[in-house]
């Protein structure tokens, strides 16, 4: 519904009257709650999970990193594998999955974090990913006329379409997350820039998929890479809700009332744990017609 919501934003801008900063007295401060950011790809590079704690809402202090936790990953009913804390002073609070740690498609992985007599756990299954058969990038000349601070599209912004084809996997419940890289640098970093696909209506079919990424900073000749990642439906919901509760917050029509973004971590912690199988395809960005 993300794209759908955008339709109404222009109306909202017109009708929601004025806006002003407001100082509300916030009671029941709940800082110090464990937050887990754990998205582990099954690739042969180092990956990290990040542990932080919640802070007071109006706090402008840098986030509080959690050091000294014991973090393990367990495959199915195997024995726990420890993710060692980074020793680099610039990346405290990060716990490293080494490059040689590989995961198995179809296995469930349990993340266990223990610190100060508290134990937090989460489970995620490594789902398969199909191969990308073809890829094209082209400039989309739609001129967006709606301006809104909620959406990363401004009037006159251009959109680049990355068109890929692949054969959707036969089982139901597949969700793929797409990110893109320009010259091997990740360009879709924030959840609001992510694009995902679920197979509810197109299960098992050959799918031509246009993924629209607004605000690509790319020039002809650049190398564009698309990364397609298998994720759980819950993580797609997580991203969608996150977008609703942050970028669309307070929007009269398009948003839901304030509520917490869901989590799959136990014991009252926030955040998310996901293991994911990626697949890649690259192309050189060139004009559709030779000028």
């Amino acid at each position: 519904m993300k794209k759908f919501s955008i339709i109404f934003l222009a109306l909202v801008a017109l009708l929601s009257g004025c806006q002003d900063d407001i100082d509300l007295e916030l009671k029941d401060d709940q800082s110090g709650i464990m937050v887990v950011e754990a998205f582990l790809r099954n690739i042969s590079t180092r990956e990290a999970i990040k542990l932080t704690r919640t802070t007071s809402y109006y706090d402008s202090e840098p986030e509080e990193l959690v050091t000294g936790a014991l973090v393990t990953i367990t495959e199915d009913n195997g024995s726990p594998f420890q993710l060692k804390e980074s020793t680099n002073p610039d990346s405290l609070g990060y716990y490293i999955k080494p490059a040689n740690f590989s995961m198995k498609i179809g296995s469930a992985y349990t993340l266990t974090i223990s610190i100060d007599d508290e134990i937090y756990t989460a489970v995620s299954e490594l789902k398969p990913i199909p191969n990308i058969d073809s890829m094209e990038v082209f400039y989309n000349d739609i001129q967006f006329l709606f301006a809104s601070e909620f959406v990363p599209i401004a009037p006159g912004d251009t959109i680049y379409d990355i068109n890929i084809t692949y054969t959707e996997l036969p089982q139901k419940g597949d969700v793929y997350l797409f990110k893109y890289y320009v010259n091997d640098t990740l360009a879709s970093f924030y959840p609001r820039d992510f694009v995902y696909f679920d197979d509810e209506f197109l299960n098992g079919e050959v799918t031509g998929s246009v993924q629209q990424f607004p605000k690509i900073q790319a020039d002809y000749g650049d190398k564009i890479t698309i990364e397609m990642l298998s994720i759980s439906p819950e993580l797609a919901t997580f991203y969608e809700v996150l977008f609703n509760q942050t970028d669309l917050s307070g929007n009269l029509f398009a948003s839901s009332p304030p509520a917490n973004v869901p989590t799959n971590i136990s014991n009252g912690a926030r955040g998310n744990f996901q293991v994911s199988q990626p697949t890649y395809k690259s192309t050189i960005f060139k004009p559709l017609f030779q000028e």
């Binding site: 339709i7 509300l24 937050v35 209506f201 009269l252 839901s256 926030r270």
Partner: protein, 799 residues
């Protein structure tokens, strides 16, 4: 207790039980007939002498018996008296009472016309007649508003709006600044039954709730029932707002209208066939969009943003016993941005009614009712297209009977049946040459039926009872898709199975028994106590994501996943008139309990979602409160002060971790003042003031970072409060000089200047929580509000 003993199942006791039942019936129904000699009826219509409009709720007082009756919604009355000589007083607020002497020796027909009583400054005449209707009637939790009075109060942007005026009544809360949405006694907006000449109105708002669909020039009378809801109404839990349109001037042709800042109105009315038939046609259109076109900015001058509506009414008197009424409403909102985006919506209603007198004592009305609501969203940006068409139709039949049996008993019964056809529509999103995504939202059809019977019985001079009940039934009809959900994660239901229902198959039936009861006990000439109980079933609901209803918020029928909502409400009140009925005061307390109260789950995804019922959770809710009202209706200074204390809570297992929480419109204290003051013969001041403590809201208690995004951490649902709400509106109405033309017609005109939110209070409608984009890492709260003060001016005329 006796009944319990006799209900043992044996033949012998069954006979005894029947005898017992008969005795009870005798006690209830036959006692009033004791000692009655020859009786005759007096019946007829009471009308406005100016334009021949029938007056609703006009009273007939019999001086000899100290008793009386009031006219029904068609202006008809009937009462029965023993033969003899009587003095009858016919009165209505704002009219000079008429006294008639009658010698009653046969059934009598008597139509009466009442003339205006003009307020004169020098001698403040207070008519000494009985104005204690609020003391003597059985009606509790019921508010009637005069359209004349509504028109003198300050109006937002100069648009007189009945829905905004009822928000000033005790027990009624507003959905926000300038918003027509209202909540009655802790009930949600879809629990209000809004009727326009008996046709239900599904979306009573124009322009995203800034204005209501009710053109004040077409409205004759409105009554709001908050409790003690009569048996003839059903289908919504919390209130009935019964709006009646004018019939049209039957005396002479006249026109009236107004030119305001954002809209103009014109009404034409007059007789078609003398003493037989009259008509009314009234239209209204806003023209904000015309100003937009003057802009040099292309982004503005190509926008469309307007609404219009048209009310028509036709009545025809076949003879003394039969009358026909045809009323219609048609309204549209049109918004658009250049030719790339359009969003239109609107209602159409039509009612054909036939009043028939079976005898002087049996009044009946048969109605055919049609209502339609549609919206259409279209986007067309080059190769990208988007359309969504949605419609909702109701077709219904209704028969209502009133039997004015004798001076102590009035029986009412009736039958009602409605076919609902809700088609939320098809959403098409396509990008040429790339994809086409069609979401077909499944149609929702159903039949809703009701039969009712009630008796209004005067047991003695002090005690008046109304007892009865309504039997309702609801049937779901195919085609439809029924979804089964995996509910293992209470926050996210996932579909496990879909059952397709064939066309015209009735696949689910619900029944409801709805007892209704009210009593009035008169303590003395100026005070009474009243109490009521009602049970109501509600079979249709609206999914709403925000406090403000959006035009695309979908209505749906009770189904296998969402059962009907049921309310039980008790209300009791003390009514006291002071200063010879000049000041009416009342205190009412209520408690209501709602079974199967629905609410949306955290992070619900509702917009255009076929699986909306998986986004709702069902539990129980309750509300209780006390309402204080002091109202002055006569004299130069009129108006009311109302104070409401109330509390509205819910428990739904899957929401807020199953803990009790406040409804989003829970407001603890609410004070309203609405007043008008006639300062000279031509100048009238009006003022509204509202103060209410903050409504329940979900506020953050912390924040965290995830993937470079700052996310607020929220406390329990609605566990905090927004800042207090307060606002002052002022207006002045200046009557122009009245000119008389040769044929004795009068040309009247008046100016109304209103200022909304005089001191520019910023009342937050909603608050958002996000990272400060200019100051990353810092979170902030941003409130959305309607800026003030907003002045407006309107010129009204009549000739």
């Amino acid at each position: 207790m006796y009944l319990f003993v006799f209900m043992m199942p044996s033949e012998h006791t069954f006979a005894a039980y029947k005898i017992m039942m008969k005795k009870i019936l005798l006690v209830l129904m036959l006692i009033p007939f004791f000692g009655i000699a020859q009786k005759h009826s007096i019946s007829g219509y009471i009308k406005d002498a100016n334009n021949g409009e029938e007056l609703i709720g006009a009273t007939i007082f019999v001086e000899e018996t100290k008793g009386g009756v009031a006219t029904n919604v068609y202006g008809y009355y009937s009462l029965e008296l023993p033969a003899g000589n009587y003095n009858l007083v016919f009165s209505f607020l704002g009219k000079n009472p008429e006294r008639k002497q009658v010698e009653l020796n046969a059934d009598l027909k008597m139509d009466i016309e009442l003339k205006d009583n003009s307020v004169s400054l020098e001698t403040v005449e207070i008519t000494a007649e009985k104005k204690d209707q609020n003391i003597t009637s059985s009606e509790i939790s019921t508010q009637k508003l005069e359209i004349k009075q509504i028109k003198q109060l300050p109006a937002f942007l100069g648009e007189v709006d009945v829905l905004k005026t009822i928000q000033l009544l005790p027990g009624v809360q507003s959905a926000g600044d300038g918003n027509t949405g209202f909540f009655v006694r802790g009930g949600s907006q879809d629990q209000n039954l809004i009727l326009l000449d008996e046709a239900p109105v599904y979306n009573a708002s124009h322009l995203f709730n800034f204005f209501s669909v009710f053109n004040p020039d077409a409205v004759k009378d409105l009554t709001l029932y908050k409790g003690g809801i009569p048996s003839r109404y059903g289908g919504r839990l919390s209130s009935v707002l019964d709006i009646r349109m004018k019939d049209g001037n039957s005396k002479q042709f006249s026109s009236s209208g107004g030119i305001g800042l954002i809209s103009s109105r014109l009404t034409l009315e007059g007789p078609l066939v003398k003493d037989k038939s009259s008509f009314l046609i009234t239209g209204r259109r806003t023209y904000a969009d015309l100003f937009l076109r003057l802009s040099n900015d292309d982004a503005i001058n190509q926008n469309k943003l307007y609404f219009y509506d048209l009310n028509t009414k036709l009545n025809y008197k076949i003879n003394d016993k039969n009358r026909l009424f045809l009323s219609g409403y048609f309204g549209r909102d049109v918004t658009g941005f250049s030719d790339i985006f359009g969003f239109d919506w609107g209602n159409a209603t039509g009612t054909l009614r036939w009043n028939h007198l079976f005898s002087d004592k049996i009044f009946s009305n048969f109605s055919l009712i049609y209502t339609n609501y549609t919206f259409k969203i279209e986007g067309d940006v080059g190769p990208a297209q988007f359309t969504w068409n949605s419609l909702l139709n109701d077709v219904g039949f209704k028969g209502d009977f009133t039997f004015y049996a004798n001076s102590n008993n009035t029986f009412r019964w009736g039958i009602q049946s409605t076919y609902h056809n809700f088609d939320p529509g098809k959403i098409t999103a396509k990008l040429e040459g790339a994809f086409e995504n069609v979401t077909e939202l499944s149609e929702n059809d159903g039949l809703e039926h009701g039969i009712y019977l009630s008796n209004e019985q005067k047991l003695n001079d002090k005690l008046l009872l109304i007892y009865g009940g309504r039997l309702s039934a609801f049937q779901n009809i195919g085609p439809d898709n029924i979804y089964s959900y995996d509910k293992s994660d209470p926050l996210f239901y996932r579909v496990t199975d879909t059952t397709t229902i064939a066309k015209n198959e009735i696949y689910k039936t619900y029944f409801g028994f709805e007892p209704r009861f009210s009593l009035r006990y008169t303590l003395n000439k100026s005070s009474s106590v009243k109490a009521s109980y009602n049970r109501i079933f509600q079979y249709i609901q609206q999914v709403q994501s925000s406090l403000s209803v959006a035009p695309f918020d979908v209505w749906f029928l009770a189904n296998n996943n969402i059962p009907p909502q049921i309310v039980d409400q008790i209300a009791a009140g003390y009514f006291k008139n002071l200063f010879d009925n000049q000041l009416e005061t009342s205190v009412e307390v209520y408690y209501k309990y709602i079974q199967n109260q629905t609410d949306i789950v955290d992070n619900a995804d509702i917009l255009g979602n076929e699986l909306f019922d998986g986004q709702l959770r069902v539990g129980n809710g309750w509300s209780y409160g006390a309402e204080f009202l002091a109202k002055k209706q006569a004299g130069l200074f009129t108006g009311w002060v109302a104070y409401t204390w109330s509390k509205t809570e819910r428990v739904i297992d899957e929401i807020n971790g199953g803990k009790k929480y406040y409804a989003p419109y829970d407001i603890r204290n609410n004070l309203t003042v609405a007043s008008t003051y006639q300062i000279t013969e031509r100048v009238n001041f009006g003022g509204n003031f509202i103060y209410s403590t903050g409504r329940a809201y979900t506020l953050p208690v912390g924040k965290y970072n995830y993937n470079g995004t700052s996310i607020p951490l929220f406390a329990d649902r609605n566990s905090n409060r927004l800042p207090d709400y307060h606002r002052l509106d002022l207006s002045v109405t200046i009557d122009g000089k009245t000119r008389s033309t040769t044929d004795r017609r009068r040309i009247e005109n008046s100016w109304n200047i209103s200022v909304f939110n005089v001191y520019g209070r910023k009342n937050p409608f909603s608050v958002s929580f996000a990272e400060d984009q200019e100051n990353p890492g810092q979170s902030k709260s941003t409130m959305f509000y309607l800026p003030g003060p907003i002045p407006s001016v309107t010129w009204n005329f009549r000739f």
